[in-house]
Symmetry: C2
Subunit: 408 residues, 2 copies
């Protein structure tokens, strides 16, 4: 038993494995299940529970992984995007580091409570956040992307490739399958009994749910889930965000260039921050359905908000304080206005800013409300307390608490 960030966790003595299937809109599971590609997830949903949980806004990877590993919304953990504009320094700041995390993750606490914790992520960008305080306690944290570079001193493990195979390419489905395969190997080797396995959404950005490539991918993930179940683990599965096509009928991106339009309407001095932006832009071109807008000095927010709310494709626009409440965001890392766009619309800065050639085909992306509802699946029946809990406004970042406390 251990307590972190006002939650108490009482995990079973059995192994516990929580999986975040990055970008897994529910349709991906539906399509794979209907075609027989996910027999293990299908069994979990019947013998345990399957439903929807609400993700944290904005529906991005760092935001939601930070929520899942801390059990808190972004207003508490501080990471409201992949980066933010620091008005004090005048700099755009990446938040790929644990130093931006304002609370501890559950992992060092679980390790101190006697669990053997291992955290595996596909992308190196999340490793620093996940590893925070864990390695010195004796835990393990590494990425598939840099599996071969993991060493005992900094990762708690030095033989990842011997355990799970050669380091995969990051722009591949195998980068994600590798994460689960490594989890299975750690569990079977007795080197971990409390796992967090977090994949990457390269495949979901690239393929619609019926695509044979993505069906095969989910089949491979399901096979690894089956091995976790066979090894006796209690498994909880969720996603960080959904995924929707954001394109015109001809396949070109359906973009509102927000900074261009604001400058045209109100004059210069706007800075639009797209917190989806990170070093891995090939699959989304830094285009998502969420933006922070910094206004020119002295400009009132109300008029700009009201104008944006009449712009087709914009579905939400709030001033900082309202957005901080409605989306549980950290006020000191926000713009003056927050904008979200429609199911099929992304927000950009200016046409020049985005390299659409890098997209190589369709644009599927996320960040707004239409990627907010994500799957939540448990391998065991829920007890009365948590069966009632999942009926309500259950969150994807409740997944550790429910996997630990709700299944026995």
């Amino acid at each position: 038993m251990f307590s972190v960030n006002q939650r108490t966790y009482r995990p079973s003595a059995r192994p516990v494995a929580v999986i975040c299937l990055d970008g897994s809109a529910d349709e991906y599971l539906d399509c794979a299940l209907a075609r027989g590609f996910m027999p293990n997830l299908g069994r979990m949903s019947v013998e345990g529970w399957r439903g929807f949980a609400r993700a944290a806004m904005p529906t991005f990877t760092n935001v939601n992984n930070s929520s899942i590993v801390t059990g808190t919304p972004p207003s508490v953990h501080g990471i409201g995007g992949n980066f933010f504009f620091d008005t004090a320094s005048g700099e755009e700041v990446m938040m790929n580091s644990a130093k931006f995390l304002r609370v501890q993750t559950i992992f060092p606490h679980a390790q101190r409570a006697g669990r053997k914790v291992a955290v595996v992520t596909a992308k190196e960008k999340l490793r620093d956040i996940f590893a925070d305080g864990l390695i010195s306690e004796g835990g393990i944290a590494f990425s598939a992307e840099k599996a071969g570079q993991a060493v005992i001193e900094t990762h708690g493990i030095g033989d990842v490739e011997a355990l799970a195979g050669p380091t995969p390419a990051i722009y591949s489905g195998d980068a994600s399958v590798y994460v689960l395969r490594a989890g299975v190997a750690l569990l079977k080797a007795g080197r971990a009994d409390f796992l967090y396995l977090s994949t990457t959404d390269y495949m979901q950005h690239k393929y619609a749910p019926e695509a044979p490539e993505v069906l095969k991918f989910y089949g491979e993930l399901d096979a690894e889930i089956g091995k976790l179940l066979d090894a006796g683990a209690i498994v909880g599965v969720t996603a960080d965000h959904g995924m929707n096509a954001k394109q015109l009928p001809d396949g070109s991106p359906k973009v509102i260039y927000l900074e261009s339009e604001l400058v045209e309407q109100f004059g210069p001095g706007f800075r639009v921050i797209l917190p989806i932006t990170d070093p891995y832009v090939a699959h989304h071109g830094a285009l998502g359905s969420f933006a922070q807008v910094h206004l020119p000095p002295g400009m009132a927010a109300g008029g700009v908000r009201d104008w944006l709310l009449q712009r087709p494709g914009v579905t939400e626009c709030h001033d900082r304080k309202t957005a901080a409440r409605l989306m549980e965001l950290p006020e000191d890392r926000m713009g003056d206005l927050v904008v979200a766009s429609a199911r099929d619309v992304v927000l950009g800065r200016t046409p020049e800013y985005h390299d659409l050639k890098a997209l190589a085909g369709a644009l599927r992306s996320h960040g707004g409300r239409y990627e907010e509802m994500v799957p939540l699946v448990f391998s065991e029946p829920l007890n009365a307390e948590y069966a009632a809990r999942v009926l309500g406004d259950v969150r994807n970042f409740d997944v550790f608490e429910i996997t630990c406390n709700g299944t026995h």
Copy 2:
């Protein structure tokens, strides 16, 4: 081929059956499919297409059925709720009648184009809207609720009970199964080849998706869908809205009494309209996640809106003009402000106004954004044009167009 409301329909010579499964949040299908209760829908989703569509706001039955049968949003067809407050007359006006519909339905046009149209609804309240202009053209429209009272002159049919069995109780699952059974009978008897079958959500208000009662219910619906498929019909399935639990852990309703709170904060003179209200309140107590607010004369909307946006449980609040754009509502049948509430929260007027004893247990309801995404399923593969269309912001009220044009 026929054209209505700026859409052209080119149905196959095969029978066409569009089904609206009232209150079918996607979880109902997931639970029933995973447990083998819906083999026919499962086959449709593999051989045809299954995904999500966006319903019209507010996510109520009359609003969305009116959208489905006209192919238009509420801003065009005029029915933005079960009733509205007419500021000119000072009266609250029910909209259970075709006289409030501002456009024609597709049905008389399909009938004139040579189709044998039959429209079957569970609740009598929708029959007048569905029958508009259809009976005089030779079509059929009746409700399960008053099946035994249908006569040729006003319903286009006089022997419903002989065809489909005795009139079911309206507060039952059988009221919905009866709708589909009647559709099968009409199709097999050669009396209809263009069907709209619209069920009622009594079971979904009453039971969570895993409940044995609702699984059996979906199994019965699926068996009728199978008979439509066996009879050669092209089948399209959608829902008018989803359904969520709106209650506290002890099972009591999680209500914001909006009129009471506004009066307490700003003084008397507010009128809160709950457009879920209809003569059938036993299963929701007139509590949904959407309200129209009429302000006291002369009061500015902005301050009230900003106050409501800070109220926990409120997820959206817009002035009339903004709500009309964001939710495609008819401006002349709206309040000064529109309010939507969270996944697990309903809006009420005052504690005295609602008879919660009538709820008889859990409160599951709808009306807001968290009931906006609904299933959309077709029995046939989609052609290229419509396969691209469903990738984007497809609507539940595209269902007739796609069933007619997208499947051949």
